[in-house]
């Protein structure tokens, strides 16, 4: 329905405006309806401006900036309507160390709402874990789960 989408959009937009500057340590972003007169069919655009930069077409952003913008929006949708768990498979691959730390911190904040299941190769994201599972293939072709480290939460 028209009202439901409008309401949902406003909440996601508000969350996105709040989360983006946290992950980028500054800057601003918002969502925009492509056709505000037509709530039933309008598309949704992303307007994103990393700190210190001029506002430009999103496609000009770097690989890491696009990934971090995407994470901000995914987290915004998630906060609007949390699911019991959220799975992120190597979304931090293009991030530099500073962004990786802020991403790990954002994941920790999100984990107050829901269980966060994060696959990563990156150290800081690993360090944000309450529970750490290592998967190996000592025997070629056969997966094995080892080494559970428990942080703050007993298992």
């Amino acid at each position: 329905s028209r009202e439901l989408f409008d309401e949902t959009f406003k909440v996601v937009d508000a969350e996105f405006q709040r989360i983006f500057p946290q992950l980028f340590r500054g800057g601003r972003a918002r969502l925009e309806l492509t056709d505000p007169e037509n709530l039933l069919e309008t598309g949704v655009d992303i307007i994103a401006q990393p700190p210190g930069k001029r506002l430009q077409n999103m496609n000009l952003l770097s690989g890491g900036e696009k990934a971090l913008t995407a994470v901000s929006l995914i987290f915004a949708i998630f906060r609007m309507r949390p699911t019991p768990f959220c799975i992120l498979d190597e979304v931090d691959a293009p991030l530099d160390e500073a962004n990786e730390s802020r991403f790990a911190e954002a994941v920790r904040q999100m984990s107050q709402l829901s269980q966060m299941l994060v696959i990563t190769h990156k150290r800081r994201t690993m360090e944000a874990a309450d529970t750490l599972y290592g998967v190996t293939m000592e025997e070629p072709g056969v997966s094995k789960v080892v080494g559970v480290r428990l942080g703050n939460t007993p298992v």
């Binding site: 598309g43 990934a67 699911t83 019991p84 992120l88 979304v91 269980q115 966060m116 599972y133 998967v135």
Partner: protein
């Protein structure tokens, strides 16, 4: 509906019975390339009711069953179970006073499938409806971000992006 445990056997590279306890907070999964981390994500998607092998990087569903390795032959069956805490009550009447709900999906090489809720045989549809109720299902594209897919929400057309927000509503 908190996730308590993931169990796999014969699913993709997980030949032997494997269990992961999922606690509160952040659970991180690490390991070398190709060791099986994303296969765990595929197992969860499959157990929730994924219907297309393509969503799980396969051509056909039979590719989900352990295909053998250098030192082991292929297996005849894949099985994944998700155990959840029943804290929402939004479950079929028969399970309303169970403390936990264990969903099991099984696939045999001949193509035969089985689905169970706490040991009772059910249909795929019952599994899908259970999860739709809890908010994790094929509709919630934003709660499972597969490897390589994070960029989609940025590169999507405005109409596609609208759909994702709409489905979350």
């Amino acid at each position: 509906m908190k996730l308590l445990r993931i169990e796999l056997v014969g699913f993709k590279s997980f030949r032997t019975k494997t269990g992961l306890e999922i606690g509160d907070g952040v659970t991180t999964i690490v390991g070398p390339n190709g060791c099986g981390k994303s296969n765990i994500v595929d197992a969860i998607k499959w157990c929730i009711g994924a219907q297309s092998a393509k969503d799980l990087r396969g051509k056909g569903m039979d590719e989900l069953i352990f295909a053998g390795s250098e030192t082991h032959r292929a297996m005849g069956m894949a099985e994944v179970s998700l155990t959840m805490q029943n804290d929402r009550g939004d479950v079929p009447a028969a399970f309303r006073d169970h403390a936990e709900i264990k969903v099991t999906r099984r696939l045999y090489r001949d193509g035969e499938s089985e689905y169970e809720l706490n040991g009772s045989k059910v249909r795929l549809r019952d599994v899908q409806e259970l999860f739709l109720g809890t908010g994790v299902g094929s509709r919630e594209a934003y709660s499972i971000i597969e490897q390589g897919r994070i960029g989609f929400i940025v590169s999507a057309r405005p109409e596609e992006r609208r759909l994702i927000i709409e489905e979350a509503a």
